[in-house]
């Protein structure tokens, strides 16, 4: 201890000690709360896996054999003999993913301004737009695909519509959130120069959110390419339709070849979209 401490400084030191104690108590409470939260999440995970019979070794013992049988005995080597007839379905799938993404981006762009708290014209419009986005997100694209298949018939058109509408749910929400996070300062500057309400949106808000919008759109294209292979399985054409046909015929060597092809395409699309997204930063 410092012997030269004067009365005033001593008082300051005591109050400093008090505030240190207060901080320590608060910190202890915080740590205890953190430990409780971690324990709760862990419990949730273990309980869910247990509910799914994940911890039953017997099921794996039987399953491993079946998987091995299908993949190694019947699935290898991959059979590329029908490669010439896969080009067209592959283009169909690509067109489906691009068309669906474009559709969703267009509608999301218009909806997002209604679904963003800071640009929505009225709370009722805001609530309706949010509800629409939630509904679109809640209906799985496969269900939408079956619905549109019944409505507009076979081909990739129902796939485009299903991917487009389902994607609005997520793309629109992300667009709206980007708009809600804009810096209000330049927006006010456009108002102060005499900009009309639409000019304020176009020249004050849009330039700020454009990079995020481009980022979300290209990410969604990646996602939709993968999803469009699944869409083929319910009858929307494309490479997924070839996949489900080979599966039904139990031609697992062809299935392996198709999966490898899809893997290659997904990798190319991923690299392409990642490259484009980087340029928008």
């Amino acid at each position: 201890m410092n012997a030269g401490i004067s009365g005033g400084e001593g008082a300051a030191a005591v109050s400093g000690l008090d505030s240190l104690n207060a901080v320590l108590v608060a910190r202890k409470r915080q740590l205890r709360r953190g430990a409780l939260q971690t324990a709760f999440v862990l419990f949730l995970v273990v309980a869910s896996l247990g509910h799914a019979d994940f911890f039953n070794p017997q099921r794996y013992a039987e399953g491993a054999h079946g998987i091995f049988q299908i993949i190694v005995r019947e699935g290898l080597p991959p059979d590329f003999s029908r490669w010439a007839s896969w080009g067209r379905p592959l283009l169909d799938t690509l067109a489906m993913s691009i068309g669906g993404t474009a559709l969703s981006v267009l509608f999301s762009f218009l909806l997002a301004f209604l679904a963003a708290g800071n640009t929505s014209p009225h709370p009722v419009v805001y609530a309706a737009a949010r509800l629409f986005l939630n509904v679109m997100r809640a209906i799985p694209e496969l269900i939408l695909g079956i619905l549109f298949l019944a409505a507009v018939g076979l081909g990739i058109l129902p796939g485009v519509l299903a991917l487009g509408f389902h994607s609005i749910g997520m793309v629109g929400k992300f667009f709206a959130e980007a708009i809600e996070h804009v810096d209000p300062a330049p927006v006010e500057a456009v108002r102060a120069c005499g900009g009309s309400p639409l000019q304020v949106l176009w020249h004050g808000v849009l330039p700020q959110v454009f990079p995020q919008m481009a980022d979300v759109s290209f990410y969604r294209w990646e996602y939709n390419f993968r999803a469009s292979t699944v869409m083929g399985m319910v009858g929307c054409g494309g490479i997924g339709f070839q996949l489900i046909s080979s599966l039904n015929l139990m031609d697992y060597r062809q299935v392996t070849a198709l999966l490898l092809l899809i893997l290659l395409c997904v990798t190319v699309v991923d690299a392409l979209s990642a490259g484009i997204r980087r340029r928008f930063k």
């Binding site: 500057a189 900009g195 009309s196 990079p211």
Partner: protein, 271 residues
Amino acid sequence: MNRIRTAFCPQHPNGVAISVRGLSVEYPGGRRALENITLEICRGELTVLLGRSGAGKSTLLRCLNLLQQPTAGTIRVDGFGDITSRNRLRDYRRQAGMVFQLHHLIGRQSALQNVLMGRLAYHSTLRSVLPLPAADVAIAMECLERVGLADKALSRVDRLSGGERQRVGIARALAQRPRILFADEPVASLDPATAESIMELLRRIAREDHLTVVFSLHQIDLACRYGERVIGLAHGRLVFDGRHRHLSRGHLEQIYNEAACEQGLEAALSP
């Protein structure tokens, strides 16, 4: 009691640009930002709103540009009268440039793109979706040249220094071809040397273009050196309105608290 000087403009040769009567602003939650302000802004004069932060300077400036709706009172602008319709509001704002404390620019756009924002109100909404015509680019470049940044026209604003950004903000206001220029604490976030050069630039432009100028500032020395007329605000009330040489210690004590006043007075009142 310190006498509040008002009725300042009638003697002024150029007349009144903006006339404010009984202006009050109350924010949601009951905080009164301005209380019963009556004043006139004279045409062609450089007026400084002086006060501590929170005194109501920004609110008053935002009211003058009609960005803020007053709770009570009227604002009449010479040549515009009572501004009621949306089109008149646009016309008024187009000829009233605004410079902000934190410049209010879009960081990822070039200086030129930001300055072109000042030309938007000269075009219809539909037309402004497309790139603006070359004539507007020429005006924007001329404005950038006046603030000494023509060589940075294509640089992204977030790559510029604080002083350069404020110059871009000034160029944007100039691109509106304004008759009135508002500036809300234009140098508050700049270092003293840069602040001085920005104030100098604003005064030069104001004189060359015969602009009516209203600045808000919190520094007494800048207010006294650059303001032809000083309006003192404290707690949302008008406490002084007149030439800076008429600012007394009593006025400054009202505007600032005692301690700040002691230091400020020496700087402000020494010749």
